[in-house]
Amino acid sequence: MKKAEQPFQFKTVSYLTRIANEMATTLAQLEQGLETCSDTSIFNHTFQTLSHHHFLTQGFSNDFAQWVLAGCNRPELAEHLASLDIRDYLSLAELRADLKRLVSEYCEQYPQQAEQSAFEPFFFYEAIGVEVPLQMEAWTLQEFRDGLEKLSHAAFHFHFIASRLRLHLRTNDFSYWLESCLDLGTLARHVNRIDIYTNTLESALQKIISLVERELHS
């Protein structure tokens, strides 16, 4: 079995939620908040919320879309916001710009609705991550498979979803390592194609384990 030049170092992350002292009670205020809130707030309500709601496989994409739907009853805008796919973004600045653009366009088109009070306010939170290495590393595909099985949801989210912002690549830690250290480009691409919006974190992890096992037995 091929041994990698560099091991895959499994890590986990635990997030504190900080209250950002910013809130929105109208779409116009949401537009303003999207301009002024911190990057950690954008991260919290988009990337991190997928970890918070990892067991939902339909109808949930990010906190902004959910609030626009449930708090403001604006399904059209909610749909636009929900359709933003975080895998298309390599920086929070790009994601923030698109979120803001969608809300701004809606507010311009429907100025009265932009000022209507929501059922409940939207509170901006910030995610503060504390990274901790797990006492596990993989030099071979078999060790990698064994490590996957021991990952918590947070560790899996860290490597498979949040990693894009770290790598600044349209891939994830697993695929990056499989391709660059084990020369398994096809497996890496298959892993990267698993849809995080229609899978739970658990089912996505199981699919990766299955793909790796198939590779091991081929």
Binding site: T12, S14, Y15, L16, T17, R18, I19, N21, M23, H52, H53, H54, F55, L56, G59, F60, Q66, A70, F119, E120, P121, F123, Y125, I128, V130, V132, L134, Q135, K150, L151, S152, H153, A154, A155
Partner: protein, 406 residues
């Protein structure tokens, strides 16, 4: 004066593995590995009774088992101290403050007395609620990390009392609230820590179906028919009359029973009055079961929740709403008002259904009874949401993360 609480060790962290899964428990140990023998003090004002003591009774042993050198201290005071702190509590919820101006001096004097007995030397000191807030006087030269954990809703506090407390709170390194809605604008970092339930406690542990059935029958409830349940004190803010009206609407379309179970009617004159109003509204409908429970009824509440078809929480105002958490944990579809901490737990159409009126509550219940597959999905997703965010182990993880961050 103050006392250090003995730490109960009946349940071990391994007992949570079947609930959480091995990787999640292992992750707690990994986080804690960097905090071995680091000192922590939790300080509150009561050892028994109330949600804070109940939570510390489980949280402290878990953190100790994870290797932290943790102590739980309880401050004490005379009747005058507790009269003042009760008045504080009511005023912080927005009520008037009628105690004399010297009450603030009395409050500080008791904090000072507790300080003489307590050794506030831990690296991480977590002070719970307003009663011990002035213990931060003990801090010297910015030593240790001091955090104020506020379990109550400060959204509309009486300005006199909050003005007094705020000056103390601002001396801390940070504050923790159960919801952003309950927080204040402060110059110190504020963190969101949800309250939590213990899945292994009497109120939440798994029960045998025979026990659930037997409990229902003991209260005269037919286990074979649809059961709608609200567990709450007989308190106007829980809107039991609204629940009865919603039930009466639902009953036009579905054969069902209503269970209103809770305490507060025997030791509270207003509770008695509310109970009488509910009885009058119900008349002699045999399908409504009003159960006035004593405080030691955790297992009965567990069984009533587990035996229910739909859980209701039609509060007009609410704290975090742990009865909602309990219902969700039991995989029950929940219909609840969008007040207080309830929208934090119920993501509408994902983990339950929110309502804003009696008619809305009735409509959502009818929707669930007409669509049992959706009701089941909401129940399952509600349980998954609680597992992730609202269990005592999630609280332990938040504290570990906070200590690592500070």
């Amino acid at each position: 004066m103050s006392e250090t609480m003995p730490i109960p060790l009946l349940i071990s962290l391994d007992d949570y593995t079947p609930v959480l899964g091995e990787p999640e428990v292992a992750e707690l140990r990994t986080l804690a590995s960097r905090l071995q023998m680091r000192t922590v003090q939790m300080v509150n004002s009561t050892a028994m009774g109330g949600g804070v003591a109940e939570m510390l009774n489980r949280l402290v042993p878990i953190l100790q088992e994870l290797g932290l050198a943790i102590r739980w201290e309880v401050i004490t005071g005379g009747n005058d101290f507790y009269e003042i702190t009760k008045a504080f509590h009511n005023a912080l919820h927005g009520g008037p403050y009628t105690m004399p101006p010297e009450s603030f001096e009395t409050f500080l004097a008791y904090n000072e007395q507790n300080l003489l007995r307590l050794q506030m030397e831990a690296e991480f000191i977590v002070i719970h609620d307003p009663q011990p807030v002035a213990l931060i006087r003990a801090r010297r030269d910015h030593s240790g990390h001091w955090i104020w954990r506020c379990h109550i809703d400060l959204s509309h506090p009486n300005p006199t009392v909050w003005g007094f407390l705020e000056a103390w709170v601002n001396r801390y390194d940070g504050a923790i609230f159960s919801s952003a809605e309950f927080a204040r604008h402060l110059p110190v970092p504020q963190y969101l820590f949800y309250p939590s339930i213990d899945p292994l406690s009497e109120k939440n542990r798994e029960l045998e179906p025979e026990f659930v059935r037997g409990t229902l029958e003991r209260f005269g409830i037919d286990p074979g028919r649809t059961i709608l349940t609200q567990i709450s004190r007989f308190d106007r803010l829980k809107d039991p009359l609204g629940v009865v009206r919603a039930f009466q609407i639902v009953k036009r379309y579905f054969d069902c029973q209503l269970v209103l179970a809770g305490g507060g009617a025997s030791d509270d004159p207003e509770g008695e009055a509310v109970l009488a109003e509910v009885r009058e509204a119900v008349g002699n409908d045999p399908d409504v079961h009003i159960i006035n429970l004593p405080p030691w009824s955790a297992t009965e509440i567990n069984a009533l929740q587990r035996g229910s078809t739909v859980i209701i929480q039609k509060s007009l105002r609410e704290g975090f709403g742990l009865t909602v958490t309990e219902g969700l944990w039991k995989s029950k579809p929940v219909v609840a008002s969008a007040v207080g901490g309830i929208p934090l737990q119920i993501i509408h159409k994902h983990t339950g259904l929110l309502a804003h009126s009696v008619e809305g509550t009735a409509y959502q219940i009818r929707f669930l009874l007409s669509n049992p597959a959706i009701a089941e999905r909401l129940g399952q997703q509600g349980r998954a949401y609680v597992r992730e965010h609202f269990l005592i182990t999630s609280s332990a993880k938040r504290y570990l993360t906070l200590f690592l961050h500070l």
